[in-house]
Symmetry: D2
Subunit: 364 residues, 4 copies
């Protein structure tokens, strides 16, 4: 039990169910003196928000962040920051039919088997809505990182089998938010969008791959041997619902490379030693090298589809069929981008604190 | 700092450098009353041991486990189990030349940048030798799991680009230890072995993929939302040196599947609900479903190669070249198998304790 | 940073400032299936509430608990329970004058020195109001303990130098809540009440001692060697503001006893071995013995007094004088009773989970 | 389970039984670049060592510390420091008789009830011998603190009812190690020594009180609200066997003080605000104020006495009598001094790291 907290020194605890009164997060360990207001958080929540475009669920939520503690006259005090997002536009009626029939690919079955009692409305605690708290906390983490010149940006690199071309970091920064799929390759973006519409029209869904860059991370971040920067990132990203794989740098490609291809030679750059290529993804021995941190996640296709699927009736304990109606994204990657960025940002701040890079007070 | 401990309730702390007096582990949280002797640990250490075949490093180490505490008259007492493995057959002379020249693909550079002072002999703390402690602890975890009918077995599924055929679990159990590459597909094993010899003769190295099955895990293990079973496994596996990717179930393949293909329909099996296929890899919403837990890791090619590579001289702060001599495995996957099994076994025991499945005393 | 979480498996995180919008707590690790509603929590909050009698601060707060998550149709689901108590009847105007003049005996000075920026209204995070979250969580812990026949009850045993007579546990249960000082000795209670009025009339305050009994705790709870039951209780109790000492069993008295007086002989009671006296306070080697757990805390006199005191003006950095006006309890012990009970109850539930005594689901 | 680790960032894990092959500690989180050799540790172990004078147990142990990792060429590397102390001069024969008869006041009974199986030789894990690991780790902590001008010194202030006079810190520093009872008041020391001899001759034992000063601690250390400096110190000290009470500053005396007496007025000292008296014991709101940290512990009389005591035979489950023979200190306070200092030093280093006062590397 008690798995709802993430981080050691910069530590977040999320709470809330999809159809309960609210969801939220408590952020503990934020340094004092950080300028912070609702708009810092709202900006990121809006990127995660349902109903932001025609390829997401039509559940329209304002997702307005209320800061309940830890901020005084526009600056953090070092006390825990409690943020609440009320649940509105909730319709539980569609879920009545699913009460006893766990949806394939969802957590309904395992929550039932583990707890023996669950909130069946809208996925309850296992709903993607839980990530609102992560994104709110991620916004605070990003604000801290910006003080150190660190930026975390994600983009969709593959969706429904369509691969984006590799682009420069400037293009990721510039293009990603220009299209609803959050793909930096604008041509691929058009194809991906069409693919999502096609999947929806077939009562189906598609998965994809998201890449997250962390730029400006100084060398020396990460705590070997178990709390390696790579290990903590892997945990953070794999803890997001629908994520089934995580890789760093060359990742699974490194399995088919020779050592002479995969090793990044070291050069001197601005008077400092630095790997010249980045197959390592910016991490060696679990510690940042000064290169950008690069990671990718495999996102499974949305399990909620309106095609007929086999399941069981847990009350009568017999096999049956279901078709899932309700409002669902036919593809998760576009909206998972801010969530994945948040998890990486949370890890970076936590590890920087563990290494003594960030102190109790950001001012002075 | 302080990243050398893994687990919450079943908690291990490893210590030791490659060329120091010894390496070891302290296992805290083992239930009392477990029959345990040196042979339980030795058996697993022998699978990890260097020099076990002609495809591994010729560094010949006995790797004899000494149990220093926590076991009394052949049974555990609930007190911490301290296990030490002395370092023998150590030759630091080859490393003198590498003192100021970090090896590409290794942690030399990042340890230097983080700590400012390091044990440069044999990779010091970042040496693969550190995993001896993990394997010793994993042996204890496996012994506990066996009381619950749970088995963790790994095998090499890809090496140097050669893919093994999918085989039944009985074949993995029966064939894996019959060949030095630990591949259950005996034909592929022969090719893989040849590939390793070829890489060595070219002064190069090859990577691969290892798969780990956990069979017999009951439904209900895992602590959402951050300490999901999948998230903890991802952290554990990614914390092993040379691992650059982790996937669960269909993993990265799920990114190109449709929801209707990827979802595992649920049936009734022996009176209980169970997913009938296993794209989820036995985990839904971070909780075990009763299906086998399936995970795979991408292992990069050994960074220590005798080809010439570019690096820097940290003392003179100028670019230079190195050729790494010394004794190294040309391919890591065969010997990483017991390490990966150990990490998964450690996570399972810890999560079973967190869920209250295992109590203070295994007897009574 | 990040010290706002207490417990390992049953884990609470409190948040909120005295004059902010609300205070609250997130309880993580509560088993599923526990019957819980607002009244369980309200009952305990009412015991902590300001304005409950004429010996407490006249700040009148309803302190109404809102459960925002983790409870569905009257039962817990195993998900985190978020509880919020809005701050009402807040008057920050009195604090304007104290903005730059730290109050002696308060945390104003040290928060300023640590964080460099603080919410100076009403003590901010260091206000006793923070304990509302502890008491709300303690109410949940007590509900869980009641399933195991365990009861945690506290009472004031000394106040302003007046000592209560030792009474039987039945009298503590029966009498404590009958008088505003929460003293089980009704005669002493009258004197204590008079003492509080006298202190107030002298613009001063008085301290005291509170004793907490835990009855029905089974043998075997506690995790040596650092997380001893006694050590965790000591931490929990010492973390309450105004507590300056903690003792278990004979406590400081044991320092003047002989071994032959202090040792509790062991007898057989209902077929089980049990210490016959209880100088050990129910804990031996950090593990519960089956006897009641007995602990006592020293509570300092309220630092907020209206007598003139020396302090410094932090803005002008020169010495000055203050008289603290506003609404304050002249004696803390009566209202600290439910807080101390809560901390002990939280430790007991957490340690029972760590020992595997409590599982994921309380039902079934 | 798993309670053998102490600290968050500077984290120690102790292991070992009294009559096993060795006891030891793994220190994780020590910054790199600290000059450290065996003599730093030996010096403190010698203060804890049995047989150091005629008032301690005659068990003569060399207690030689072996550093097995984390130190390279005389300096720490940031890797875990493993220290082992072999058990010599062990005689288990005396304990055969105590196998089934738990000693009153000892942990024998509760270990049996918790684990169902225990190492009955010499107290096993609950032996005072476990503290050798704490003292070895404390020596490292003290070395780190000395870099920041912080000193932790303890002394016996009461023994067998004899109270030492309050003396200046210079006298504590100068006199404590001059007499075997470690009392800074040389006259009281003579009486205490006589008291110990008297207790031994009566087959009995005596308790006492130890005070620990931490001098030079900067303001701002401690993490409210649960991980207050006072709370962590209370946990650390209460986790030592035989300790039954902990107080900070005026402690239990503050319960009988008025607010106007107990509050420490604030003055300006060397340009900084500082409490002028120290009833708070250097901690306000859980954060250090810049004043010395003052804490005291109540130490119970040694439970091992040769007087006849009532106990039970667990095998036959009937009441019986025992006289404990073997080699025991008739009074614990003199030898607990270095252990208590160690626990306080460990907390200080950990909390300084948590606040970002200490970085990964002590050099540069």
């Amino acid at each position: 039990m008690s798995g709802n907290t993430f981080g050691e020194l910069f530590r977040i605890t999320t709470w809330g169910e999809s159809h309960g009164p609210a969801v939220g997060v408590v952020i503990d360990g934020c340094p004092a003196g950080l300028l912070l207001d609702g708009s810092d958080i709202q900006k990121e929540l809006d990127r995660r928000r349902p109903g932001q475009s025609d390829i997401t669920t039509p559940r329209k939520e304002e997702d307005r962040a209320e800061i309940l503690s830890g901020v005084f006259s526009g600056k953090t005090t070092g006390a825990p920051i409690s943020i609440m997002v009320k649940n509105k536009n909730v319709d539980s009626s569609k879920y009545e039919a699913l009460r006893n029939t766990p949806r394939p690919g969802h957590a309904d079955l395992t929550y039932e088997l583990k707890y023996g009692y669950r909130d069946w409305r809208g996925g309850g605690r296992s709903s993607a809505r839980e990530t609102a708290g992560r994104v709110a906390a991620g916004a605070v983490a990003k604000k801290i990182l910006s003080h150190f010149g660190i930026e975390v940006i994600g983009h969709v690199v593959e969706l429904g089998g369509i691969r984006a071309k590799a682009v420069e970091i400037e293009n990721i920064r510039g293009n990603t938010e220009k299209n609803p799929v959050r793909c930096a390759d604008q041509y691929a973006a058009v194809e991906m969008e069409a693919m999502i519409h096609a999947a929806r029209s077939e009562s189906d869904s598609v998965g994809g791959i998201v890449e997250i860059f962390s730029i400006g991370v100084p060398a020396g971040i990460g705590e070997p041997v178990f709390d390696k920067l790579s290990a903590e990132i892997a945990k953070g990203l794999m803890s997001i619902g629908a994520v089934k794989g995580v890789e760093i740098g060359a990742g699974f490609r490194s399995a088919i490379m020779k050592g002479s291809q995969n090793n990044d030679p070291i050069i001197i750059c601005d008077g400092k030693p630095l790997p010249v290529t980045n197959n390592a993804g910016g991490i060696l021995g679990g510690i940042s090298s000064g290169q950008p941190i690069v990671c990718r996640i495999a996102v499974k296709p949305t399990p909620s589809i309106s095609k007929e699927q086999g399941t069981v009736d847990l009350y009568e304990m017999k096999e049956t069929k279901i078709k899932i109606t309700g409002r669902h994204d036919p593809s998760i990657p576009p909206r998972i981008v801010p969530v994945a960025e948040s998890m990486v940002a949370l890890v970076l701040v936590d590890q920087m604190m563990r290494g003594g890079f960030i102190k109790t007070s950001i001012i002075g």
